[in-house]
């Protein structure tokens, strides 16, 4: 035997094993918190409204999950359910990406709108879903939200919008940008006529959505830790090489800088909304004092 043979690895034949290599844990039984790493049962997490029991991190919700926990009996009368995006600019890859997003999420686009009740108060509600195309605003998101604002106006109902979005949908470029003006103009009419609009920022809400209807609420709430801002952290760091604070653009940061009214824990959201709605409702027989 030569010295060099000491360093060669011996080769063994391998026989495929009948046993599964890992212990059989069903997919999705456990969940690891993306913030603190705490591992807990997914069922526990669901029960806790997808808020980490260890660090309080509010995980993202899909639009339907949010609707289920916000509306009375989770019941929504949906508006414009059949409205779908087209590829108006023939943008490379957009049509395929849309199909992929639809089959991934079972949603038609990044926002669900409709009517329901909160604490017994009828409302028009829009709930965005980050899982569809990162909640980006194209023609459909802009149109659905505008129609919801118009419905709230016509029916004289309060309007609630839960926002989450990465901003403009660049595959619709200028059409996407103009949705900012369209939704804001609709709010100008609705709010000008005395309509009540409560905006709720959820994680994350950036760019064109943050810089249009989401920032125009008569009341603006946010979930703890939600990142809210115009330009993204990475863009800012790369453009101007500023050192940014750790809590940059979080709900707490925005509260501190006067950009919103209240940071509300998910478990308290429905009660807070109910209270706000109640403040704007003069019930029959209620005394006006004096």
């Amino acid at each position: 035997m030569q010295i060099k043979d000491l360093f060669t690895k011996k080769k063994y034949a391998t026989v495929p094993s009948e046993r599964p290599s890992k212990r059989d844990i069903p997919e999705g039984l456990m969940n690891k918190c993306s913030k603190c790493g705490n591992i807990q049962y997914s069922k526990e997490l669901e029960k806790n409204l997808k808020v980490c029991s260890s660090c309080g991190h509010h995980n993202m919700l899909s639009a339907w999950e949010r609707i289920a926990m916000t509306l009375d009996d989770g019941h929504l009368t949906e508006y414009d359910a059949g409205m779908e995006s087209v590829d108006p600019l023939n943008f490379p890859g957009y049509a395929g990406k849309l199909e992929q997003q639809k089959s991934k999420t079972n949603l038609r686009d990044g926002v669900i709108t409709g009517e329901g009740m909160i604490g017994g108060f009828p409302v028009v509600i829009c709930v965005m879903s980050f899982d569809f195309f990162t909640g980006s605003m194209g023609s459909v998101v802009g149109e659905r939200i505008t129609r919801a604002i118009e419905a709230a106006h016509a029916k004289q109902l309060p309007l609630l919008i839960f926002s989450t979005s990465s901003g403009a949908r660049m595959q619709e470029s200028i059409l996407s940008l103009m949705q900012m003006a369209k939704t804001s103009a609709a709010l100008s009419r609705f709010q000008g006529a005395g309509g009540l609009y409560i905006s709720i920022f959820t994680d994350p809400t950036m760019g064109g959505v943050s810089a249009s209807f989401a920032s125009l609420g008569d009341y603006i709430l946010a979930e703890p830790g939600a990142r809210v801002g115009f330009a993204g952290r990475v863009v800012i760091e790369q453009t101007i090489r500023q050192k940014l604070p750790d809590n940059f653009q979080t709900a707490e940061f925005n509260l501190q800088h006067g950009q919103l009214d209240k940071v509300v824990h998910r478990k308290d959201m429905k009660a807070t909304l109910t209270k706000l709605l109640d403040m704007h409702c003069v019930r029959e027989g209620a005394s006006h004092g004096g």
Partner: protein, 358 residues
């Protein structure tokens, strides 16, 4: 040649040759008149061909040309009696936005514009034409003043976008832009916006909610800069030229999409070649559109502006029910509203088939 863009090089090289040939002809006393005439003719032809069919990417470079006239250049050349005003009355005077009072053919108007710097020092003071919230709030203050005193508003759009920075975020960049969009929708005076260079994102739109939106022939307007789009889509900012073509950012594209109402012609080779000519073109267009708008009442102006933006967007209404099963979260039933929304399908489908967003 100073300020030459890469695609202009072949023409400038040829021009250079003609100049050399002329010098040689004088120096040596040889008669090259015919050759020179032919070459000059060729130069002209090449220029006409090039500038009449610029690609979106070439227009993008033209829009960003460092010698391209700025808002202040045009304001001083188009209007008389310009009096610049300052400050948002809340925090600061953002020099990335300029504005004040001026007269257009004798009529007092409020003019506002993004202002890029003329040199490095100026650019630093003006944040390269990218406003902070105080800039948008300054613009809003001018517009509210115009609304109060029934003056038309004319805005010049020329920015890569709102300033991306810590301080801008702290002071509510999103809120400042959003508020301008909402408030511009309600003013009962004519608003005419004109994109003179680069119209980038929300920072551009915050001065852009007008009854009429015009663009210079080589200006561009988009939701995100082509460089930004390329780096997000393909992880490669150097493919900006490609993105520029895909994104439909030129005046021609936007006119076709129904986003803008008119295109202002530029002198051959771009606005920077002839400021006086360019200013004259802008003045003519502004005057034409202003005359039309001055015939409308305040309510009609608000209505007209609302309808312009309300129409924008392309989508279709599908006949099939959505794939998701809301029942497992909410026990949803078909409603009267849903049925009602089905009935206007034909209108929406027609909208989708139409070539423009009108």
């Amino acid at each position: 040649m100073a300020g030459e863009l890469p695609f202009e090089k072949p023409i400038n090289d040829l021009r250079q040759k003609v100049t050399e040939l002329k010098a040689l002809s004088e120096e040596k006393g040889i008669d090259f008149t015919d050759e020179i005439l032919i070459l000059e003719e060729k130069c002209k032809r090449m220029e006409q061909e090039l500038y009449s069919e610029l690609t979106p990417a070439q227009r993008m470079h033209m829009a960003r040309h460092h010698q391209r006239p700025t808002s202040l250049d045009f304001i001083n050349a188009v209007f008389t009696d310009f009096m610049e005003l300052h400050g948002d009355r809340l925090y600061a005077d953002d020099l990335a936005i300029v504005g004040g009072l001026a007269k257009l053919n004798g009529i007092p108007v409020t003019v506002i514009g993004h202002q890029r710097g003329k040199d490095t020092r100026d650019n630093i003071a003006r944040f390269f034409g990218s406003p902070h919230p105080e800039g948008f709030r300054k613009a809003l203050r001018f517009m509210e003043q115009a609304n109060k005193f029934k003056r038309p508003i004319i805005t010049f759009i020329d920015t890569k976008g709102a300033y991306p920075g810590n301080t801008a975020e702290e002071r509510g960049q999103s809120e400042a832009i959003a508020r301008n969009l909402r408030e511009m929708a309600r003013f009962g005076v004519p608003i005419i916006c004109i994109v003179i260079g680069e119209g980038g994102s929300g920072g551009a739109l915050a001065l852009g909610v007008g009854n009429r939106v015009l663009m210079l022939e080589n200006a561009i307007y988009s939701a995100i800069s082509p460089n930004g789009a390329a780096s997000i889509l393909w992880k490669d900012a150097s493919r900006a030229d490609e993105a520029a073509a895909a994104m439909k950012i030129t005046a021609g594209d936007l006119l076709e999409l129904g986003i803008i109402e008119d295109i202002v012609a530029e002198p051959q080779g771009g606005a920077h070649r002839d400021l006086a000519f360019q200013a004259e073109q802008i003045k003519d267009k502004l005057w034409t559109h202003l005359q039309e708008l001055l015939a409308l009442s305040p309510d009609q102006l608000v209505e007209d502006r609302y309808n312009k933006f309300r129409k924008v967007g392309q989508f279709r209404i599908s006949e099939q029910p959505a794939d998701h099963e809301p029942n497992d979260v909410g026990g949803q039933e078909p409603s009267a509203e849903a049925a009602a929304s089905e009935s206007d399908d034909s209108e929406q489908l027609a909208m989708q088939e139409a070539p423009t967003v009108q």
